[in-house]
Symmetry: C2
Subunit: 280 residues, 2 copies
Amino acid sequence: MQRKPLGIAVVAPANRLDPELASRVMAITARLYPEQVRVHVHPQCHMSWGHFAGEDQARAAAFVEVANDPAYGAVWFARGGYGSCRIAQAVLPQLTEAARHKMYLGYSDMGTLLAALYANKFPHVAHGPMPTDIAREDGDAAIRRALAFLVDRDPKALEPSLAGAKHVAFNIKTLGCLLGTPLQPDLSGHVLMLEDVSEYMYAIDRALFHITSNPAIRLVAGIKLGRCSQIPANDPDFGQSEVEVVQHWCQKSGIPYLGRADIGHDSNNKIVPFGEMLVA
Amino acid sequence: MQRKPLGIAVVAPANRLDPELASRVMAITARLYPEQVRVHVHPQCHMSWGHFAGEDQARAAAFVEVANDPAYGAVWFARGGYGSCRIAQAVLPQLTEAARHKMYLGYSDMGTLLAALYANKFPHVAHGPMPTDIAREDGDAAIRRALAFLVDRDPKALEPSLAGAKHVAFNIKTLGCLLGTPLQPDLSGHVLMLEDVSEYMYAIDRALFHITSNPAIRLVAGIKLGRCSQIPANDPDFGQSEVEVVQHWCQKSGIPYLGRADIGHDSNNKIVPFGEMLVA
């Protein structure tokens, strides 16, 4: 039986995607899924406005356009960086029923949009690799994993400890900047997976104070720590590892520390669908 | 008429103070106020525990000791860095009535303790230079200003625009990490002065999203922007200055933007007593 091809739309709510990286992702997809997938890289991905992939209005419009278009079964965020908080509140009221019937995949700064969609009961929201990850060492593996998830909901693409609980995954800094705002998601009863990149240990410690001191966050079922990579040297040495830091704040806040999660800013980043597993 | 000498206690709730810098501050003080001031640099200032000036317990104990000691009319925080959020909630219930009758002066990471004290109705809490500022270019001026404020409440030491309104001043990142926690101060009706150092423009933009999206912060009378110094280069260029960023978020949030404030991580950092001016 022939399935209708899956339309995947790539947009960039934060930073610009290098066209050469986009081409490589298109080539891998064409090789692996010649009939089953059509990838549309929205031209907005290559726009430029200072730090951002186009002005706020352009980024918001591109996202709303593909989210509301029933031709696409998935919105695949091109890249993190910084910028989705500048459009999240503007796009939400523009989304139609069609937007609820597709998968949204990304991580890092895209956590702001994932949180906003999840808070608005969008059922298919997932933390996982993005097209820009093709540039990483062994980046092909990240792209193949994302496609296996988007096309087939391949269980091998998933973070391996998801069974039997509601999960979410966030970049530490991204979640921190949602606390106390209308975009803060209700995570009660969820296992909260956290990861970060390029942050000093003191900043990780401060962010964990922030996250674990929030009364609503204290209702999570527990915290699992993903990878914290490229931590710049602290002077003097911070004296505690990221595991010790998370354990410290979990202990102080009464949140169970549940061990490690297989997520991070690297090509091994496994996929974490938000909420309970909804396998098609 | 002879006044009783003012006892000033120096403690370090975050990072360690270099003993040589402490000596220079003591020397300036002895020269300017030979009879009027006694400075006590608590030995905890020179302790070391990884990143911090001693373990959490040691830093908390030193702060509680000098805050509760009626021999001191002022607690002068030695230095910022990072660490006061690790002790703020522990020290509050240990403070006695004597702790309410003195001035607390510091900035940067110390904003967490200033916020905690102000939220607990401590009447004399101020944002301004610390002993470590002696190491800055023209650092003597910062020390002289702090002493003129602590000893004589010299109006020339104050930020020049304080008349006629309640004010507070915070480091942008420090305030951001209090949002949504029990330490978030009620700033309704206050002019909120903000400053930062060594943060990327994208991180300043993200922090302003965070601060101005908080419903309680939206009750401030307005925001004044201090100096944002040592901003690392953004790649690509962010495309907006810190003034444009603050104006953008003020405009989006409906918070009045009230112009610049004469505060920052430099020797020109003027003093901002929290709340309404209480000049002795």
